[in-house]
Amino acid sequence: MVKESRMGDTDEEKVLVLQSRKGDPATFESLVRTHQRMIHSLTFRMTGSLADAEDLAQEAFIRAYRQLDSYQGTAKFSSWLYRIAVNACLNWQQRENRRERMHANWAESNDALRPESEPLAGEDAPGRQVQAALMKLPAKQRAAIVLTVYDGHNHAAAAKILGCPETTVSWRVFAARRKLKRLLSAKGGQNE
């Protein structure tokens, strides 16, 4: 799944990064090909929507290309890219929250029913239930769970990616687990 693309930087990858830095989108395609599954996996876990996951994955790669000059080469390229994607997801969540607030205000003032949001994608009912529970977490807690549970980062590595202290990650993971247990233990999992 995700692990196949979490690789150490090979010499070939370093060369690709250097060439891409010179402004060659064609070379950057190879880097996208290497890491696209890892990034899509992250963006799907963070959004619960295949369409949003695709948009965010694209946004993350475009941001990465434009920030290549700032990549120092001290960390793995995959970690650096992952951090950009996480930030893109957190920004997306802020935009979504604003949009939902506006939508709610509009619906209230027009005495209208709020339309159903896009159904969560998933291959089976339990999958949808878990994804729905993840989506009920605050975005930063969700990111902490995705990084530590799904992508196997320890708290220290997750803290580096998220740009916060390790203790903050530990707290977010703890709070997220507590909420997930409650949500997934409840009958139907989405009753809260």
Binding site: Q58, R66, E123, Y150, R177, L180
Partner: protein
């Protein structure tokens, strides 16, 4: 529910799979988006940033061109001193850095220089290679149809013909690649469409 149960439940959920052709096309989609959208700064940057970014970009381009010249110089020197201008990779790199802004890349006795438009309004088209000598000095450049430039002391307009030919029009002359020959005042022109370069 204990921690272990939660872990199992979470990990049992797979990301929905996508078709293989999606993974094939996605990198191309990103690449196309990068080519289509102007690079670098968002519109809401503070006012002082665009000139800074612009200056930085030009400095970077000069470095890149310098590197490219250094890299290829040895090989090109013995054959054609202007061959660098017809090198697809170099052209591609320069045009990617300044999408729709490159009016010409000129090489003369002073070295290589970029002629950039103020706005990104240079239409994408097949590049044209032009070499002009006026008896004292020679200049070579790569440009695009419709560009008006000053080369070797002459103000000229470069035009591409539908059949692939090139017309160079100056204030006192008109030259066509279909009927090449020496012009008045010892002016010599060579020009060709770089159809083989896929930009």
């Amino acid at each position: 529910m204990n921690d272990s149960d939660l872990e199992k439940k979470l990990k049992a959920v797979q990301v929905p799979s996508r078709r293989e052709d999606y993974w094939e096309s996605f990198p191309r989609l990103v690449s196309a988006e990068l080519r289509a959208t102007p690079a670098r700064r968002p519109a809401d940057d503070p006012n002082w940033l665009p000139p800074l970014a612009w200056g930085g970009s030009i400095a970077f381009a000069c470095l890149l061109i310098g590197f490219a010249i250094g890299h290829w110089h040895g090989r090109m020197e013995k054959s054609d001193p202007y061959a660098l201008l017809q090198n697809g990779k170099v052209l591609h790199e320069v045009l990617t850095l300044f999408p729709n802004r490159v009016r010409a890349i000129v090489q003369d006795e002073h070295g290589m220089q970029l002629v950039l438009a103020d706005q990104p309004d240079v239409p994408a088209s097949t590049p044209i290679y032009v070499h002009i000598c006026d008896g004292k000095q020679c200049s070579s450049l790569v440009t695009f149809s419709g560009q008006e430039l000053e080369i070797a002391g002459q103000k000229v307009t470069i035009l591409a013909e539908a059949q692939g030919g090139v017309i160079v029009v100056g204030s006192r002359f008109a030259w066509s690649s279909d009927r090449p020959g020496e012009l008045r005042g010892g002016l010599k022109i060579e020009a060709t469409s770089l159809n083989s370069i896929n930009l």
